[in-house]
């Protein structure tokens, strides 16, 4: 076990020295102040700055979110209003249309009635006229028939005369 010979080991230290203590203390304090000045200070500064930045960003986001929500509410309200208005417009237009249709229908109905009546009265008039004409014709005819019948019953002489008259008449009319 020669390699375990304590003399070959590289460890340990020799005794307490006041100088070491003093030096360690001094070194640590110097290190502490140097690090505070050159490392921890700036690092914590930037960490704080980032923290503030993030806080600001979050606050800003919160604010803009609220604003957006307000806008959205406003828009929804406006949309609802517009929809209501449109509904009312459509309603009124429908009513107006119905009314107009009703009016047109009424007018057409009246017109039809009027036309029918006019046609009826025309027909009546025509009929009367026809009847009148017929009556006249009948009267004329009956007179002619009657006269012919009368003529037939005439005597020879008067018959002759009558024929002559006719002939004459005919001749004249030619």
């Amino acid at each position: 076990m020669q390699f375990l010979n304590p003399d070959s080991l590289i460890v340990g230290a020799g005794g307490f020295f006041a100088g070491d203590m003093l030096y360690q203390l001094l070194a640590f304090i110097v290190l502490l102040f140097l690090l505070r000045k050159y490392a921890w200070g700036p690092l914590m500064g930037i960490m704080k700055k980032r923290e503030e930045h993030i806080t600001n960003e979050i606050n800003e986001a919160e604010t803009s979110r609220k604003e957006a929500q307000a806008y959205l509410d406003e828009q929804t309200e406006a949309l609802k209003e517009a929809r209501k208005e449109a509904q009312a417009l459509i309603e009124s237009a429908k009513k107006q249309g119905e009314q107009q249709g009703e009016g047109i229908l009424q007018a057409a109905r009246e017109e039809a009635v009027r036309m029918k009546e006019a046609a009826l009265s025309e027909i009546e008039r025509e009929k009367e006229q026809a009847v009148q004409t017929l009556r006249n014709e009948v009267a004329t005819l009956s007179v002619q028939i009657a006269s012919k019948v009368i003529v037939k019953e005439l005597d020879e002489k008067s018959q002759e005369k009558l024929v002559d008259d006719y002939l004459k008449e005919v001749g004249e009319s030619r």
Binding site: Q2, F3, I10, G19, A27, F28, L32, L43, M47
Partner: protein, 239 residues
């Protein structure tokens, strides 16, 4: 344990003795921490990338540690302390892992935290800071009366507690890192003995180094966590 130790290189200044290797490793660890931190916060952006992400993650991590022990209003001032402690101790723990350098039986390159002097200094500093902040935050009267709560006879125990805290905080870190380096040195020594043992120790070496990375990370976390726990114990009002 003396036979496990190499000699420590020393020098004297202002009537004080310094362990040269400790001084060097403390400086190196501090410089590495400083470089990492400055690289991580060199070009800061609102949308972080690369190193900045890592540094911000570290800040959030330490913030989490503080938040789990006290409320953020009192804990905020300890953030830089916690960050510096966790980074310094982590880097220190890692320094001794890849290799150790000894010149003429004098150990030069090692983890500074593998020395109880260093870890106890850090622990004492932390405990003194807890007392300092306790007075600063709560006032001297409230701080003093805390030693007699919940009952008067607890006073000696409270005093012992302070020393116990300091010792356990420092020695826990030292013990873990030192043990890790001892075993690494053992394995390295064994591996260097021959080709066969070199092959044989390669896998355990790999495993132990991985485990030491884990332990070093955990210890850095624990040291920071306990710092904040002691701090909260002193500073917050419930106790």
């Amino acid at each position: 344990m003396k036979e496990l130790n190499h000699e420590a290189p020393t020098f004297h200044l202002f009537g004080l003795t310094f362990n040269t290797s400790n001084v060097m490793m403390i400086t190196i660890a501090s410089i590495i921490v400083f470089i990492i931190a400055v690289l991580g916060s060199r070009s800061l952006q609102m949308r972080p990338t690369g190193m900045q992400n890592f540094m911000e993650w570290l800040i959030d991590f330490v913030k989490g540690i503080i938040n789990s022990t006290m409320d953020w209003k009192t804990g905020e001032r300890f953030l830089t302390l916690g960050l510096t402690i966790i980074m310094y101790i982590f880097v220190s723990n890692m320094l001794g892992l890849p290799f150790a350098i000894a010149i003429d039986h004098e150990l030069w390159w090692k983890s500074p935290t593998a020395d109880p002097t260093i870890t106890l200094t850090l622990a004492v500093m932390v405990v003194v800071l807890t007392h300092f902040y306790a007075i600063k935050v709560k006032g001297a009267k409230s701080y003093g009366s805390d030693f007699f709560k919940p009952m008067k006879f607890m006073f000696p125990l409270k005093i012992i507690e302070e020393f116990a805290n300091t010792l356990t905080l420092g020695l826990r870190l030292y013990g873990n890192i030192y043990a890790g380096e001892v075993l690494l040195a053992l394995l390295a020594g064994a591996g260097a003995a021959g080709i066969f043992s070199g092959i044989l120790t390669f896998v355990p070496m790999l495993v132990w180094q991985g485990f030491s990375v884990f332990v070093g990370t955990i210890q850095a976390f624990i040291f920071t966590m306990l710092t904040m726990v002691y701090m909260a114990h002193k500073v917050s009002d419930e106790h």
